[in-house]
């Protein structure tokens, strides 16, 4: 048992560290810089909230693109991708090493992960050669940003319940319907979409998968205002949107199969969860005072801190076990399925408890908040979303129970009935 890199791993780590040191700024646990937003709270496709309206958001996007271009030129933007599409042609362990190193730096995140992590790999499997040549390299450099148009108002955890209509008209398809929770649709250039091409087929059989230009006429993007007051996600409306059949990925009716390629990459793409964790509340308890002095000296506080510490480090060491498996060329174990489940609830509990420790000033949530820069107020709201996005706590527990533990699947009412005869609660 040791934590040492192999010689090649150490060389790669140095390469990554040198690049980061030369091009990015280190992050602190809780920064005292007024405009510093570390620790960053961001998920794939949902960049950290940018205050200051559209202009500031546009500026942040431009900054992200500049960063991405540098990262791509250095080879780190798509470590797992083959070289022919501009990737590094690297191994999973190298991806992990780079992410570990990048985690310590303040770099833009949330713009490119969905494309590079999920949609690019889908195109590699299902796309035509000319598509791959045309789109993949620009995905890496950040010149073109992609979004994933999957969820719908009536298709969330039950994703295959998609109703978006795709009707064939000559060698074109006409799309009508609505998508929702589309991260980054407001700045994305392209998207990948699953739609229902045959409502009379079984639920998983009547779907077809396409890619499209987000500027195609008939597409309207409306931001969703979240409980945090910010908007990271969108509703996307499709009104007679016409796209050529050449933009289909996979066969007609094969959309679910293609979507699974995308989804299999999801948990890899989500990557390192945002940092509002033990370390942040540990720092906070050294500043905050409760009835008998500093919070960290209070025994109730200490008991709770210990629970979060073992969860936090338990996840980190579980990741080490996965990395070990990866570096031996094996498939990683449980890490991907438990990480978000534990992290999201922990963040919610940590945030809520930190507000308790602030007592009545915990109520205050504005830019001038003197106490720890709103970190825990933001976390309080953001964590509620995190427990749902990318697989709810409940779906994740089902996945662990069925796929990891091998428990029986739920009895399902939708397996043998044509999609248009399924009860939907509305008819």
């Amino acid at each position: 048992m040791d934590f040492n890199d192999s010689q090649q791993e150490a060389a790669f780590r140095k390469e990554a560290r040198d690049f980061l040191e030369a091009n990015a700024e280190k992050r602190s646990i809780i920064s005292d810089k007024p405009n510093d937003k570390s620790p960053q709270i961001a998920v794939a496709g949902a960049p950290e909230t940018v205050k200051g309206g559209k202009e500031a958001a546009q500026e942040a996007l431009e900054r992200a693109k500049v960063w991405q271009k540098k990262k791509a030129e250095a080879g780190f933007a798509a470590i797992l991708w083959p070289k022919e599409f501009g990737g590094y042609g690297g191994s999973p362990i190298q991806q992990v090493i780079y992410s570990q190193e990048e985690h310590d730096y303040l770099v833009p995140s949330g713009y490119f992960e969905i494309g590079i992590g999920m949609l690019g790999p889908t195109m590699m499997v299902w796309g035509k050669d000319e598509d791959k040549k045309r789109y993949l390299p620009k995905m890496i450099t950040g010149e073109e940003i992609w979004c994933q148009l999957f969820s719908e108002p009536s298709a969330g955890s039950d994703l295959a319940g998609i109703k978006m209509k795709a009707e064939k008209d000559g060698d074109e398809w006409v799309l009508n319907g609505q998508k929702v929770w589309t991260s980054g649709a407001h700045f994305a250039d392209y998207g990948m979409i699953v739609a229902r091409s045959d409502p009379s087929a079984l639920k998983h059989k009547g779907l077809t998968y396409f890619y499209l230009d987000m500027k195609t006429p008939g597409i309207e993007v409306r931001p969703i205002k979240q409980i945090s007051g910010t908007s990271n996600f969108n509703e996307v409306f499709f009104n007679d949107v016409r796209i050529p059949d050449s933009q289909r990925l996979g066969g007609e009716g094969e959309g679910w199969k293609v979507a699974l390629t995308t989804l299999m990459n999801e948990r890899l793409a989500v990557g390192d969860p945002p940092g509002l964790d033990f370390d942040q509340i540990f720092e906070a308890t050294k500043e905050l005072e409760v009835e008998d002095g500093l919070a960290i000296k209070n025994s109730e506080v200490r008991q709770k801190m210990a629970d979060w510490y073992v969860q936090s480090r338990g996840l980190q060491y579980t990741k080490f076990r996965s990395i070990t498996a990866l570096s031996k060329g094996q498939t990683p174990g449980p890490e991907l399925s438990i990480s978000k489940l534990v992290t999201a609830s922990k963040m919610q509990d940590v945030s809520a408890y930190a507000l308790e420790l602030m007592d009545s000033s915990g109520m205050v949530h504005h830019d001038q908040n003197p106490v720890l820069k709103n970190l825990f107020q933001n976390g309080y709201f953001f964590s509620a979303a995190m427990r749902i996005a990318g697989g709810t706590d409940e779906v994740l527990r089902n996945i662990i129970a069925e796929r990891v533990l091998g428990l029986p699947q739920d009895e399902r009412a939708d397996k043998k009935v044509p999609f248009n005869e399924l009860p939907s609660g509305k008819n």
Partner: protein, 376 residues
């Protein structure tokens, strides 16, 4: 990075698992549970001693196998899985580690070979009263070469030949007044009284000392420091036992939930139960990873040990306590019958989480060690 056990260590694990599956079935565990006069499974003890498990981490020159602490972690997990009713933890994780780490050359030569061979059993006792042990509530005294006092509970005290205790070596009554002493329990003046425990497969007794002979272990006045270090080392090993027990609790809950039908379907297909078992799994994986980190710190003598050991201990206690109680819940009514095995794990989980200090005490240790580490 190589955050895993080696192939040789995994082979040892497989052999240990197979052996215990054959020789330490639930019937064997219950022979100790059901018989008040039986303090451990003697046949099992002599078999595992013959195979050298008791001497795993004791150097060859003192009669052990001379393997490392990682190998001992591997064995600990298997003992935990099988609920082995033996004094292994008292004699090996505690007594042998004290002698190995703090004994004089002469003491190592005198004590370790018979402990490594399983012929003698040792144990350790700190507590004298209810509640968290602290220097001020140690009343046992050493003066003019004799010990007078009382310890309770003493795990495996009735089976033990030797005991290590903390006693006051002066009258100041503070931390530095306490020294460690090795006591031969087979002498006049030692009187033992059986105590029923929540897990009778892991027994304890109280012991009264009246003018008994004892020899000092390690430096005078250093009892508390030595004890903290050895309890940290033991905590890692305990956490492997706990992870082992937790995993079997989950496996048995899962098995039952797939065999038992209600409302026309396997109860394991109900989400209420699936989610409970998913939660068990999450806690166990976190505990296993924390235990691995503890094993690494233990095997490398890292100065991370105090934090790593406390983290492993807290996480493992949480996992085993949760898995054992929810295993009963998933079994329903039969889960709280004497006949079903659920209670064996329920008993063991709580006993293990109290035996070398409660979870709340270890949480406190964890945070105070983190504070110390930050200052350094």
């Amino acid at each position: 990075m190589n955050f895993d056990f080696s192939d040789d260590q995994k082979l040892l694990r497989d052999q240990a698992r197979k052996f215990l599956f054959d020789k330490c079935d639930r019937k064997s565990v219950r022979t100790v549970l059901d018989d008040d006069q039986l303090h451990y499974h003697k046949e099992l003890w002599s078999q595992i001693s013959e195979m050298g498990w008791t001497g795993t981490a004791i150097p060859e020159e003192y009669g052990g196998l001379g393997l490392g602490m990682l190998e001992l972690c591997v064995i600990a997990e298997e003992l935990g899985r099988s609920l082995a009713p033996t004094p292994f933890s008292s004699s090996i994780y505690l007594f042998a580690e004290f002698i190995k780490n703090y004994g004089s050359e002469d003491q190592k030569k005198r004590f370790l070979p018979s402990i490594a061979s399983g012929e003698k059993i040792g144990t350790f006792a700190l507590s004298e009263t209810n509640g968290t042990p602290k220097p001020s509530n140690v009343k046992t005294k050493f003066s003019s070469g004799k010990i007078n006092g009382y310890k309770s509970p003493v795990s495996d005290g009735e089976s033990a030949d030797y005991l290590i205790i903390a006693a006051n070596s002066d009258d100041k009554g503070n931390r530095n007044s306490l020294s460690l002493y090795i006591v031969d329990l087979n002498q006049n003046g030692v009187s033992k009284k059986s105590l029923e425990t929540i897990d009778p497969t892991r027994p304890a007794c109280s012991i009264n000392f009246e003018n008994i002979e004892a020899e000092i272990l390690g430096e005078q006045g250093m009892a508390w420091d030595m004890t903290e270090n050895i309890l940290n080392r033991a905590a890692v090993l305990y956490s492997f036992e706990q992870v082992g027990g937790a995993q079997v609790s989950l496996d048995e809950a899962k098995k039952y939930s797939m065999e038992r039908f209600a409302f026309g379907r396997q109860i394991g297909s109900f989400q209420a139960l699936k989610h409970k078992m998913a939660d068990m799994y999450v806690k166990i994986e976190l505990a296993r990873s924390n235990a691995y980190y503890g094993a690494w710190a233990l095997s490398t003598d890292s100065n991370e040990l105090p934090v790593a050991a406390a983290g492993a201990r807290v996480s493992a206690s949480d996992a085993f306590n949760y898995a054992a109680k929810e295993n009963i819940q998933i079994h329903g009514g039969v889960g709280f019958t004497w006949d079903y095995d659920c209670h064996l794990f329920y008993r063991r989980s709580k006993l293990l989480s109290l035996n070398i200090g409660s979870t709340r005490q270890w949480k406190e240790n964890l945070i105070s060690n983190l504070e110390k580490r930050n200052i350094v």
